[in-house]
């Protein structure tokens, strides 16, 4: 009996506080699949960053800020209404400032840090996690922000909505990835998808709200203090 408990203690995973797919929890096929899907996205993002820094080297500092912001936010494990914890992604700010492609590289840096030093997420799930957090999230943030601008929404509201939706899109994507890899034995992928949405969903809503609010705070600070002319910020100043 004692042995059994020891065994259980070893086997039972230490609860990790994040929204990423845990190491080893995607079968080899899906692990390869998402890595291959992500590779071109990463390369494109890398070229975009290089291009951006050659064209506008003065943006280097803001890029550092966006990266640092993502690092800080992914370290903020917040309690949520479901009684469990999760953390924001922090990639929304960078997506607003530089567009979604740039974040596809920065998001991977953040994920790698968490994998190698904190045992959150994993090497075998890096492609899948990067796809949801560093690509799908930023793309949705970007789309929602553009759409809100077209609709003439207040800029603060637009930033909030964009980041909120980006965060939620990330977790919905994660749920779908998990559902494809682990379909319900009886009812298949859809049932499993709802299960995973259920697990992450309620937790993620307040966290997405907090990330949205925090991003507005930083954008406000930037728009007050950054003197340089820069598409996103000058637009923000004009219409907030």
């Amino acid at each position: 009996m004692k042995k059994l408990f020891v065994l259980l203690a070893i086997l039972s995973p230490i609860p990790a506080f994040s929204m990423h797919i845990m190491e080893g929890f995607l079968p080899a096929f899906w692990s390869m699949f998402w890595s291959l899907v992500y590779l071109p996205i990463f390369i494109l993002g890398f070229r975009k960053i290089k291009h951006l820094l050659v064209e506008k080297p003065e943006l280097k500092l803001l890029l550092a800020l966006a990266t640092a912001f993502a690092f800080v936010l992914s370290a903020l494990k917040l309690p949520s209404v479901s009684g469990s914890c999760s953390h924001p992604t922090g990639v929304g700010l960078g997506a607003l400032l530089f567009g979604p492609w740039v974040m596809s590289v920065i998001g991977v840096l953040v994920l790698l840090f968490q994998v190698l030093l904190l045992a959150h997420g994993g090497v075998t799930t890096l492609g899948a996690n990067a796809f949801s957090m560093a690509f799908i999230g930023p793309v949705f943030t970007w789309l929602v922000f553009s759409l809100s601008n077209k609709l003439g929404l207040n800029k603060k509201v637009a930033v909030f909505l964009a980041v909120f939706v980006g965060n939620m899109a990330t977790y919905i994507c994660t749920s779908a990835q998990l559902a494809f890899a682990h379909p319900d034995v009886v009812n298949g992928v859809t049932t499993a998808f709802y299960k995973f949405v259920g697990i992450f969903g309620l937790t993620q809503i307040p966290i997405a709200i907090i990330e949205g609010l925090l991003t507005v705070v930083v954008v406000n600070l930037l728009s007050d203090h950054v003197p340089m002319r820069f598409d996103f910020l000058s637009q923000y100043k004009k219409r907030s």
Binding site: M22, G24, G83, S84, T124, L178
Partner: protein
């Protein structure tokens, strides 16, 4: 329209309120990680699935883990503060 400063004050209060209210209304919650719950679900619904790879390195204890987490947050905040301070100073100097 309210200034960015006022709006930031309100926004930060709202964030603190959300966290505090959560802790207040769920005094008995475990606040475990959502991905740990997903893991439980997978191990229960598919007992045959064996994670085929484990983390290369894990922080030896919760303390070390929180050390790394606070380092991550501290360094990040340092950079954010540096950049905003840099621009603030620059703007002042330009005037």
């Amino acid at each position: 329209m309210m200034s960015n400063k006022t709006s930031n004050l309100l926004l930060i209060s709202a964030i603190i309120l959300i966290v505090v209210l959560t802790l207040y209304y769920y005094p008995n919650a475990e606040f475990a990680g959502a991905d740990g719950l997903a893991e439980d679900y997978i191990t229960q619904s598919q007992p045959n699935y064996k994670p085929w790879f484990s983390n290369i390195w894990e922080p030896p204890s919760g303390e070390i883990e929180s050390l790394l987490f606070s380092l991550q947050a501290a360094i990040g905040t340092g950079v954010v503060a540096y950049v905003i301070g840099y621009y603030k100073g620059k703007k002042k100097a330009l005037k």
